[in-house]
Amino acid sequence: MDEATGDGAGPAVWRSTLVDVTELSLAELAATGDDVLAHALRRLAADLESPDEPIAGFNSAF
């Protein structure tokens, strides 16, 4: 899924399975096939199903 790629001297880039869809219009995004977005959609679905959404409780005062 997420992986580091580099030149051997150390990881250079941590790639995500999400893709940048902000360059598309909403109409273009709707027309984009599921196959193109498959990895991103799987990650999105996994996020939504995760039971561990962190909610912070915080005593912010003394």
Partner: protein, 476 residues
Amino acid sequence: MPSPLALSDAELVALGAGRAGRATVDRLRRAELGRTMLLLREIARAAPRTGARWYAELADAERRAPGRVRAALAYPLTGAWAAHHLAALRTGDAAAELPDLLADRPVRRLTAARDGLTLDLALDDAAPARGLLGLPPAGPLGDGDAERWQKLLAEAWPLLVDGHRPWARLVADVLVCVVPVRPDAGARGISATSAHAFGGVALSEPADAAAFAAGLLHETQHSVLNAVLHLIDLVEPGGERGYSPWRDDPRPATGVLHGAYAYLAVTDFWRAGPGPAAAFEFARRRSAVAAAAAGLRADGRLTAAGERFTAALAARVAPWLDVPVDPVAGRLAAGANADHRACWRLRNLAVDPAAARALAAAFAAGDPPGPAPVALRPASGRALERNPRLDAAHAYLAGGPPPPGPDGAWLRGDVAAARAGYVARLRADPGDDHAWAGLSLVTPGLDRPEAAAAVCRAAGPDADPPAVAAWLTAPA
């Protein structure tokens, strides 16, 4: 073809250290906007009739006014609503009506400027989705309420800009809206962040400017980490919940990382604070952040990226461990951390009943203690409980008198008196967990108070609590 998103290693390390620059924050914001767009696309697909028509209208509006639509989609509560609605669609619980994301509605603003740095936030007391950040929202604010928020921000912002400019810049770069929420009876100030609302913060009305500043910092860090976690896995999935220094309930490793990351910023905030109260907060938070980061790295639950991120976090806090603090504040901070751990164990760990009975029999027979295996009690949800000893420490550090009884003796550093007081309480009520945790603070080696309490429960009135504690902590 959409291009893959990525973070450079340098960006990931800077993020871990709490030093993300504006370009990185912009990248995260863009990724979050794209994520919301994907959520909307999936809503349209999941509800082909109503959802698709609603999406098409939004797409039409975008053709006419792209900037306006993108701004609406980037608003934190849009992401929160979209995630909530899509999840509901998939379980068949979705509301039939879809919102007008472009509806004009008046929104109060919270603004402050200092030394060239401006914070401009929506104070959103009206958005229908404002209840999706994890805490019950307050009702609509009156003008007086809004003025109090504004006055507090006007005092809080200089604290951040003057003392912590890089953190202030991060807050200004990340945060978009504050949703006022009802105060929590068990906490003196409460706040939350939804994973789906980048830049959105739910916050009860802060007690003072410092609390406001610390709360904004804290929730900014949660927002940043949520966005990173959407991009890249930092923690391997699964695994048992465990101890977290910031919560009274067991937390998954991701939750522990969130706590460490949020308190990294808060710790730095208190580092420069004046007086013993700030020293106390700094001292107890730095130790907790360092210990949590070390625990995550030792547990083997981090991914390779998570190790890079957490190592940077640990490296940021490490030098703070050597910063001298007021001795009383330092002693009480160490005690407060030990107290939290002891209370957590008593609250969440159940000693195996058969082992407790065997321990009680061994105690009665004068044999050495055997093992006391524990299991997590059934989850009871998010927990933030008040600890009277911690409240007393805060009051004492603020110049108040110590309370009567063993807690006061412990605050004064009178270990013998504290011990005698806790023993008296436990003889009167061996089920007094507050006293067991207190006794653990003044009894070297009593780091598993739940075992001592379980032995007393199993042995009945014949077991003298201090004798059981001494037996359990005696050298083998």
